[in-house]
Homo-oligomer: 202 residues x 2
DNA sequence: GGTTTACGAAACGGGACCGTTGCGTATCGG
DNA sequence: CCGATACGCAACGGTCCCGTTTCGTAAACC
């Protein structure tokens, strides 16, 4: 028994460069964030932008889909911490996080993939949605349920519908806002409008 | 002066086949409706599906973008006729039209293009949005304004925000409805939920 | 019949990527 | 120093699509 290394039995030879690995994933996320669809995402483009040989990519991932999965997995989803003081404030926090994300290339990855590639890469998108949007959806559901319990929201409110209205409205704005400028108070206005409803006070 | 034809001075030789023209446009719309992005849309694929030589396509359109514009232009946008009996009914009609469209390949073209290609083909998308979504947006705005005037909607309602809430919510459902099945009563439920708002009656 | 134009099919040279391989160099352990 | 492995780079044959050209045929006009 010559091998007696400490723990993880380090293989001989030059170790793989973590820097290269990061550069590859960064490049991948950059391209996706810029609107490149998964189908048009090319290994050569990733390698070129990462300043890396194609070999280095193929040595780690056997196909494009695996690389994309790993790249997206590094996108951690830091949920905004909720103050819990009022349901209105918490909803604004959640929606304002969406607004802020809409401006960042990195966070655009989520929305770009989910929007355009859902039909063609259903399993990839599904695996990823569970990680990125499910926690947010759950957080919003919790807030809404709490609001119903405390009387801040109407008792007969359909929780799923409420969440759909709020997120759908924000999503609509992030995609088709005039001139792409998202007003800083957008989340607040959306929440207040949705809370109040369109019907007049009877 | 030999040329003295009746009216449109028909050019000599075999006339262009209208059937081929239609087949090309049909094939284009099919592919887009199936989720093919504009960037990956290839002339060869269109020609193949249309049962047509590439020559026949290039003879009519000098580039892919022109073809796509013409193809999308044939998508007429039959707005649902509004009964005008009540604002609630009209809003349901408008939203239910969205729900029905979401199931048809042809109508999916609009949403697919607008969603995924907005960044890369801004002028094409813009030209097309004016034709397809602007009339609908305007119809909804009219209905909402009428509702405000008749007292069916709250007088302080932000018209644009109201339209965003309704269309955004429907859009959210059409894209991410569980199992892709859109319940027939979805439009009604959305309208009622949005009208009522989430806040309890004070 | 003769002319003119459109048609579908096939082939062209050119470009982008594919996934793989070989090369010379760099970096680790022994 | 030596063997092993990773590195960036360049090149390979292969596939897909590009936009163009050529070919034989089809359909309109005179």
């Amino acid at each position: 028994m010559t091998i007696q290394e400490s723990g993880a039995a380090r293989p001989a030879g030059r170790p793989r460069s973590e820097k290269a690995e990061k550069a590859i994933i960064e490049a991948t996320l950059d391209l996706i964030g810029e609107g490149t669809g998964i189908s048009e995402l090319s290994i050569e483009a990733i390698a070129s932008r990462a300043g890396v040989g194609k070999t280095t990519i193929y040595r780690r991932w056997s196909n494009k889909e695996d690389l994309v999965v790993d790249a997206l997995a590094t996108l951690k989803a830091p949920l905004p911490s909720l103050t819990g003081t009022s349901v209105r404030d918490d909803l604004i926090s959640l929606l304002d996080a969406m607004r802020r994300d809409a401006g960042e290339t990195r966070s655009r990855c989520v929305i770009n993939i989910a929007m355009s590639e859902a039909d063609r890469y259903p399993q990839l998108v599904a695996r990823f949605l569970n990680r990125a949007v499910e926690p947010r959806k759950e957080a919003m559901r919790d807030v809404i349920e709490r609001g119903i319990a405390t009387g801040e929201l109407r008792p007969d409110l359909d929780v799923a519908m409420g969440a759909a209205i709020l997120t759908g409205t924000m999503l609509w704005h992030t995609k088709w806002a005039p001139a792409g400028a998202l007003a800083p108070d957008l989340a607040e206005r959306v929440v207040d409008a949705v809370l109040a409803g369109m019907a007049p006070l009877t």
